[in-house]
């Protein structure tokens, strides 16, 4: 066996992008990050899948091969055929149309929950980190308690209490999801508020709100974007969990989770009913995770593993 021994002469896998390649033109941090992102093969594949996903979701609002709710289009549990490439489900509904409709729900829940949770998390995280004091004590306490409770249980209780509409599902997911974002933003703010440029801004009499929005937030934006990206697939999985337990968006809405849940009963005779939405969901989650990983590496090259 070839011996693997420590090496002092290790050459970095890839030389850091040479700054100043395009010196006359000022390259912003974000343009630079975008360039690094598009050089990451996995991230590009992820972006392509996400584009297809978004496109499918948008198309499904105006057109699907069949209405997602139309039953008895053929024999129930029918496998893939030319007319119904993904087969029919237990009510004889067209799986392709339903998967397309499911993309719209997943997109809505994923992006909706990510945006809502991020907004709450950013605002409260900024306030806690910047003003410290009571608000910080309360938010830190909430964060610490949340470590001891599975998010899913809280969401389940909420859904039972407030109902199962898509907005309610988004709310139920965000109720716990914002804590992670708040923790991140709080940490960033705590570090940034001690930096020289914040001191400088304060010394010339800049208002607190302006310091927060012009100086602290932009500098914390990198990790925030990465975290928000990871929140999308997390929310999609979360919705599927709720649907599987029978507490997601109510039927006949074609959420991927409820499709899988319905198909579970017939897993042995018609596995395609479960596999099609599961594949769509896994592929979407994978794409977001790839882009998330790519963004993380692109925004902060030091975080490269």
């Amino acid at each position: 066996m070839a011996t693997v021994v420590p090496t002092a002469l290790e050459v970095p896998e890839e030389l850091p992008a040479v700054a100043g390649e395009e010196l006359p033109e000022q390259v912003t941090l974000w343009q630079d990050a975008w360039r690094r992102l598009t050089r990451n093969r996995m991230a590009v594949v992820g972006l392509v899948i996400i584009s297809v996903f978004i496109l499918t979701a948008l198309v499904s609002f105006v057109w699907t091969p069949y209405p997602t709710w139309r039953q008895a289009l053929g024999p129930t549990y029918q496998g893939p055929t030319l007319i119904h490439p993904f087969g029919l489900d237990d009510f004889g509904r067209d799986m392709l149309s339903r998967v397309m409709g499911g993309a719209a729900i997943a997109l809505g829940v994923g992006v909706g929950a990510s945006m809502l949770a991020s907004t709450i998390g950013i605002v409260l995280g900024l306030l806690a980190g910047f003003y410290r004091g009571k608000i910080d004590v309360v938010i830190s306490l909430l964060i610490n308690i949340s470590y001891g409770v599975p998010d899913l249980l809280i969401a389940l209780i909420l859904v039972v209490l407030i109902g199962r509409g898509i907005q309610n599902i988004i709310l139920a997911i965000s109720v716990t999801a914002w804590l992670g974002m708040a923790r991140l933003v709080r940490g960033q703010t705590l570090a940034l508020r001690e930096r020289e440029f914040v001191e400088a801004a304060r010394s010339i009499g800049t208002k607190n709100l302006k310091i927060l929005t012009r100086h602290i937030l932009p500098n914390a934006l990198g990790p925030i974007v990465v975290q928000a990206t990871y929140l999308v697939p997390a929310a999609i999985i979360f919705e599927a969990f709720l649907s599987l337990l029978g507490l997601g968006i109510p039927p006949p809405a074609p959420s991927w989770g409820s499709m899988a849940s319905e198909g579970y009963k017939a897993l042995q005779i018609a596995p395609h009913i479960v596999l099609v939405p599961c594949l769509a969901l896994s592929l979407t989650v994978l794409a977001f995770n790839w882009v998330g990983d790519g963004l993380r590496d692109a925004i902060d090259p030091r975080m490269r593993r």
Partner: protein
């Protein structure tokens, strides 16, 4: 090298000393490779040894201690276990003997209250003690050769002297041959009977320590000696530094590898690499010029 001998390898950092040492154990770090030549130990070539023989040879016949005792011991294993493990991996001692030898070994390298100390973890040891423990580990299988790669560089001066003294004593009493690698001429001359000077991965001069350091023949050896203060030096010559940097080993200059920095180079040095030739009794050097041919006047003019 003979049994019980002490050899010093000296040279600047990046001159190939440590790689030479690791090659002796056939442990060259990737992507490095031993591409040619032989490393003979008791008439067997280390390069072509089977992996089983190699494991027995490493740490059994030849042991090695490293520069930084702070990082060279495994932080999560007890000192005693790390020594015992070295013996368990080889067939010289059985399980019971291995366990029983740990404490005498620690005693041998002068670690106080060895019985308790064997149960300590590396972070509970001082730098000097860790290097002693490393030496104990190296000696565990009574190897015929101990390679010490800059064993004192990371330690403070008084501890350095103690470690060198310990190595000297072990060589005398156990007859273990020692290869001492150092950039420090003083360290080498205090311990080693023979010395090998390396530059850019090549041996440029070798011979008995006293002789080489008193009458260096290679300009590199000469400038190396002039660049360090010597306590035993009677004449107070000016210290000089060697101009320039050691060459990149992947882009060696043509001819003699030292010529870009040599003050005494002749035209031939740029074209042809000199062979290692005997320059005096038992002393070899790799140079077209040789310091004994340089006149006193021109020497004075260049310092």
């Amino acid at each position: 090298m003979d049994a019980g001998e002490t050899l010093g390898i000296v040279g600047e950092s990046g001159s190939g000393k440590s790689i030479t040492a690791l090659s002796i154990l056939n442990l060259v770090p990737e992507p490095g490779k031993i591409t040619g030549g032989q490393i003979l130990f008791k008439n067997r070539d280390v390069v072509t040894m089977t992996s089983g023989d190699l494991l027995e040879y490493r740490g059994g016949d030849v042991a090695m201690i490293f520069q930084d005792p702070m990082t060279s011991l495994n932080p999560v294993l007890r000192i005693g276990f790390q020594i015992e493990e070295a013996m368990r991996a080889h067939s010289r001692f059985d399980k019971r003997q291995a366990r029983e030898r740990v404490i005498p070994l620690l005693e041998r390298v002068r670690i106080p209250s060895p019985k308790q100390r064997a149960r300590d973890f590396p972070h509970q040891f001082s730098g000097g003690m860790r290097q002693r423990a490393m030496i104990a580990m190296g000696l565990a299988n009574e190897p015929s050769l101990l390679i010490a790669d800059e064993p004192t560089t990371a330690l403070d001066v008084t501890v350095q002297a103690q470690i060198l003294e310990l190595l000297k004593e072990l060589n005398r009493e156990l007859g273990t041959a020692i290869i001492l690698i150092s950039h420090n001429v003083a360290v080498i001359s205090s311990l080693c009977t023979r010395v090998m000077v390396m530059y850019a991965g090549r041996v440029v001069e070798s011979g008995p320590t006293r002789q080489v350091f008193d009458h260096p023949e290679h300009p590199y050896t000469w400038s190396l000696l002039r660049s360090v203060p010597r306590v035993d030096e009677r004449r107070h010559e000016r210290l000089i530094s060697i101009k320039g940097m050691p060459p990149d080993l992947s882009r060696l200059p043509t001819g003699c590898t030292f010529h870009p920095r040599c003050q005494f180079k002749v035209e031939r040095c740029l074209r042809e690499e000199p062979p290692l030739v005997e320059v005096a009794a038992d002393q070899e050097a790799r140079c077209w010029v040789l310091m004994s041919n340089v006149s006193k006047e021109s020497l004075a003019a260049r310092t």
